[in-house]
Symmetry: C3
Subunit: 364 residues, 3 copies
């Protein structure tokens, strides 16, 4: 078959400004800027950029960081962005607009640059924090937040919402909805801080419960992220009780290094969906096959999705797609090559994972 | 060497009734029936059935689910069961008779259909729950349970017992035996419920302590199972303190996704034995090699066993054996092929894992 | 390139006495002596000794344990030690002198036998326990311990210190420094025991905080070890808060089975360094590639190091190096073979991991 069309069901915008070396390096690691004397080009993704991205900028493979960045500057941000986005073969992007979106392309801009379609994903905590910034009576929060969430989702025709509970409270949440009194009390405590960063377990429960009523898939950041993550609090199996209480599609993002735990959840709960975005471009195309294979160990093929979780630097969209394709090709190639699957089954599964499952669950 | 004889040291009975599609699908996933619009044939085990089981029913590889189920119905349950059990090359089955055993073959029936031998494994919680159903004075439970357990084990000549503490309390158990007063108090609380499902930590500790006195191996469900499992409570290393206090063989079943943690336990404790049953048929023969290899990373070869943990559907016995053989062949083939092990050592290790360790530890 | 020079940044001394079979077997497993009827030659490392160590004693590959031990005795401990140490290709050994050092070579003796250089690593708990054994006023501990630690480090020109908090309290430590009053109170409680084994969380925090002031890298035992380890307490990500508060190089030793969690930490924290010592020789050269590959999934190549964590038996130094070289060759060979990395980059990375990173971070 030709190049598989992809739905990137979780990504962010591309930085619109020109990036100098320090900016660029800070954006190619979840650790941000490297320590003195080191460079983020000395990482798996750094080598992947020199190997796979350089040719898209008309440079030889394995070109030096200096030459790479010089050519990048020469071509300009718009052209570089266009080249990398086009290379992904992505038909649709589902864009989380809730994280440091200033200076990033909007979904509409991203769609235009990529010659693709884009959809909005609304971040629950951002909606709550915007309300807090505007000022809201704690006693009204239980009423106003659902109204605002509904209005926000409707205004941008969002196809899903996202929770970063992983970064705020972890997953050891009481799975039951809080009472109105509890919400008011928690809102009072939370709104006393300024700026109000939503990290109150009661309010996390409430925002999630509110999201359920929208009937849209709920994305959860799981596992891998920046240094605010406390890994043992974000094992996705800690969400089991919460998942068991709900029927809404639960989209577990990233999952690494808990991809097998995620696979278990998709096996035993009918509403769990998975990807290994973010990990894909950071580990590169020689490790992504093992990680996708672990994610797929017991998961139904109807629950696996593609995402890049790319942010800021267009190289990451390209590498995310490349690393995903390498993993998917390795999986299907192995199974067909050993006659475990027929070619027709392999093609069908590739289409499900690449775009079909996302189209179905997000009603695209 | 010819086909390695296997001892399947942990399995259940086969369903005796004819199964329609809904029944069949519900039995080929730890998640039970698929959600609307999905089919459990779209899973790794579903594809493995179409690939590996179809030919045993005289169908082409990769046959459709519809054709597969039609042929299955045509042959009838008895013939289908006979074919799949014979294909396993299993000499002995150790059968856990304590889980939804109505409608399943007894060990004796299984033995007959398989043309093999079968032994009983007594489930501790079932013995306690049967007592509760019959009515027992809480003040007598500390005396009556050991008597009943001993009588049950003797009556069926059981070769081991099994605990599903994983499903009831998890493994964060106080490793010390409870006092008689604590047992009585716990029994009173427990028996007040009806039907009484044993999930009281004190009584779990007591049933395990009682089992020790039998001198038989104790099987523990570990890791992978259905959606009642809370994964972070069933990491086998949480049993370390309990294991360290006892000398009885501790048989850690399934282990996935904690196979490396299990390997560690077998390395450092002299009484720990392991398998990756259940996972084997669910992941299929292309992933089972990696999982067995992880289980074997630091484990003595004298502590690794085979089990299918098959339940209900005879296909799973066949796939469990097939997937185990693929994994064991991959392990020994790699080591011999790279001259890491001599062929003689590889053969000896294969016999230990396939049947010798089970024969020794269960005194078969 | 020729044989890559190694810096073994974490190992112990070699036993100076002749070892009989029981002694030898006890030293080739983290579980110590095998249970009756078993032998530690029936483990991955046991087979690796027969395969890889036998030829260095002029024996055929896969020789029997009996022949192996007979030849070993015939050659004598000094010659056997010399042969295995020379085979490692190690230029420098960083020796933890704090664990059962009686009967082991000193770093100076090891250096001489190996025809290499050796450096001291001071174990924090040993310094505290030596003070306790000598007698120290609890009210003075907060003053005396830093003085003694500084004096000890200076006396042996130590290049780093090591904590075995993993064995004593686990990693769920309050990341803040304790107050002097808290230290005194904890010391009082601790010193009331005899012999005083340091396992008080307050004193662990204090010893670590004291170590920070030395400005030397701090090694942490992580993951794999003997049966005193409680694995779920030593996931390295539990150290995240502690790591985030400090800038000192944090050297995470062993890491298995948490090598992916460790990789995450090295990705997001600028001061985290990793190895998979101990695991390397226990899993052998056919599994070490996967384990190193997982450690390297998202880690900067500037943070990966080599260690053997060999102890007592010289075979383990040899196998540690062999297993590490197999893993590193597999990594670089795969990446160069698939044109993911240039040969020049692969060589540079191999030198960083093999010795360059250690030289830089320990100022060798």
């Amino acid at each position: 078959m030709g190049l598989l069309n992809l739905v990137d069901h979780h990504c962010h915008g591309v930085a619109t400004a020109d990036l100098d070396r320090a900016d660029f390096e800070a954006l190619i690691s979840e650790g941000g800027s490297p320590p003195p004397g080191e460079t983020n080009f000395d990482t798996p993704v750094g080598l992947a950029i020199r190997r796979h991205c350089a040719p898209l900028l008309d440079l030889p493979r394995h070109t030096s960081p200096e030459d790479y960045l010089a050519r990048r500057a020469e071509l300009g941000t718009a052209e570089v962005t266009r080249r990398f986005l086009h290379a992904t073969g992505t038909a649709r992007y589902l864009v989380d607009t809730g994280f440091h979106a200033d200076g990033l392309t909007t979904p509409e801009e991203l769609a235009k640059q990529a010659n693709a379609r884009a959809h909005h994903i609304v971040r629950l905590e951002k909606v709550a924090e915007d309300l807090a910034a505007e000022g809201v009576d704690p006693a009204e929060f239980a009423t106003v937040f659902p109204e605002r969430l509904h209005a926000t989702v409707t205004a941008v025709n969002a196809v899903g919402v996202k929770s970063v509970a992983a970064y705020r409270t972890g997953f050891r949440l009481d799975p039951t909805p809080p009472s109105r009194i509890e919400i008011t009390e928690a809102a009072r405590s939370w709104l006393a801080d300024s700026p109000a960063r939503l990290a109150h377990p009661t309010l996390q429960r409430f925002t999630l419960e509110t999201a359920i009523d929208l009937g849209l898939p709920i994305q959860f950041h799981v596992g891998f992220g920046d240094n605010d993550i406390r890994m043992t609090d974000v094992d996705p199996t800690l969400l089991s009780d919460w998942i068991a209480r709900h029927r809404t599609p639960v989209m577990l993002l990233h999952c690494w290094p808990y991809q097998r735990q995620a696979s278990f959840l998709a096996c035993v709960f009918p509403n769990v969906y998975l990807d290994v975005g973010l990990a894909l471009h950071y580990v590169g195309p020689r490790r992504s096959p093992e990680i996708l294979a672990e994610l797929a160990e017991v998961s139904p093929f109807t629950r696996l999705l593609y995402s890049s979780d790319a942010y800021g630097v267009p190289e990451l969209y390209s590498l995310g797609a490349l690393s995903f394709r390498a993993a998917l090709d390795a999986l299907t190639g192995d199974r067909v090559g050993t006659d475990e699957w027929s070619r027709a089954d392999a093609d069908r599964i590739a289409h499900l994972i690449g775009h079909g499952n996302a189209e179905r669950v997000y009603h695209l």
